[in-house]
Amino acid sequence: MVALAPRIPAPSVVARHLFLRRSRWRWEEIAFWLIAAASFFLFPGHHVLITQALISGLFVVSLDLLLGYSGIASMGHAAFFGIGAYTAGILAQQGWGDPLLGLIGGAIVAGAFGALCSLLVARLHGAALLTVTLGIGLLCYELANKWSSLTGGDDGLQGMIVQPVLGLFAFDIDGNVGFIYAFVVIFIFYLLARRLVNSPFGLALTGIRENIRRVPALGISVRFQLMMAFTISAAVAGVAGALLAETTQYVALEVLSFDRSISVLIMLVLGGIGNLVGGMVGAMVFIVARDQLAAVNPVYWNFWLGLILCVVVMSGAGGIVGFLRRLGDRIGNGR
């Protein structure tokens, strides 16, 4: 028996290494987070803007989990972002202003709504899926618009009182505390998202994206995986929305808008789909560019945005991160 005991053959080491390499931190990821952290010191006058870009980044990451890994397109993802924002906002308005409580509340309510939606959309695909997700987004917008006793309607939600983070650090007008708070929360969720895509669960999602017909033949329930993915994605979007509400101490109806659902798609494609960091990069570039260009002339912004979107899609280059990776590979090979 001893002679037959399994010994670890060399290929197994190679195989394990392949999976380690899959989950290793890539240079674009490290670069992005270093730059994001350094921007606290480099651009002290722009903390509010960068915080917004990071929050949008987390929102994009939540969509990437669904679209980039499972291949499920949502045209109404702002619904979950907005629900998270309103949950945190209303909690703070009603005297439950602890920021962490707001985050948890936003995640739970948005996640629960996501779970409900996932029951509905799990069997849809194609044009019907696009229209139903779009419809859900529009429904939430209309509901918040009409239910003004709760949401403040068109005027937005007023009177939020957000307490200091951990009872120690009060939000300041320059956005210093807001920046650090958002940065830490978003980084933690980024780590969790990384963990998820590098788990067997994430691999199953990739399988669904790659070939939805094969997945059941492996014994995996497509319905269960997609419902989980939808719920998690919605909860993360809810956290992003709650962060926006807390750092700005205000919730505008715009958090639920169709425009936001589309922008998040654009940011994802711009940065690069299916690699998490692309979403963060895309959001940063989008928000900063919009701030600069839309200030000059909003008409030009729309035009360049459309053109860039067409170019990114037509080039098939995988967005900014895809381009950087190829550039990096070329430099690496040239050595």
Binding site: I8, P9, P11, S12, V14, A15, R16, L18, F19, L20, R22, S23, L192, R195, L196, N198, S199, P200, F201, G202, L203, A204, T206, G207, E210, N211, R213, R214, V215, P216, A217, L218, G219, I220, S221, V222, F224, Q225, M228, I232
Partner: protein
Amino acid sequence: MNINSASPETVLETRGLHKSFGALRVTQDVSFRLPQGARYALIGPNGAGKSTLINLLTGVLAPSSGTVLLNGSDVTRLRPEERVRRGLARTFQINTLFPELSPLEAATLAICQRRGLCINPFRALSGCDDAIDEAQALLADFDFGDDAGRPTHELPYGRQRLLEIVLALAAKPKVLLLDEPAAGVPQQESAEIFTAIEALPSDVAVLFIEHDMDVVFRFAQRITVLVAGRILCEGTPDEIANHPEVREVYLGDGENV
């Protein structure tokens, strides 16, 4: 294990399976048994209802009436993935693989599922060493070598056909349905696939679904002939080859192939 023991247990059985699409009856009163470790074949000309029968067995379609039994329990109402978990695996006639994933990733996914690891979103893959090792060993059995780490879409077609079998085996099935495993593979390259099929674990019951009769004569202990949705006859390869009706409806067709 004593090979000569009395008739082994039936692992897959159908009783009076019917399926109609509107007025069109595509499966009529199909009843057959597949014993443990069997090497059976299901043959029939194009349009005989082979694909429909596979879909009924695997749960892609629900029968109009009749039952499917797996290990003696009724699975007629179970979803495809639930049948896989109970030991019924299949391959696809047309490659149904994950183009961007490597064979290693795909096999690891199947093994992680079998081990119940796919439902936890926060378990690191790099920590599932046992599953990875098992996938690697399984691929090594099929001589995948370096191909195990390459994206599936880059592999030669014959390799992709083999991967179909690997992914089915990763579920550790008791019953394996092979849907034309060598479909589209040139004759000179098909040897590799048949070697692999001959080497399948002896306790797994295998049901080949084939269009080409010559192929199954090499492997099958018993052959079931399906014509126009009905079982025409069933028997050993010799009996089938000499069956007058089979010669008429099937071999006549086969000569043209």
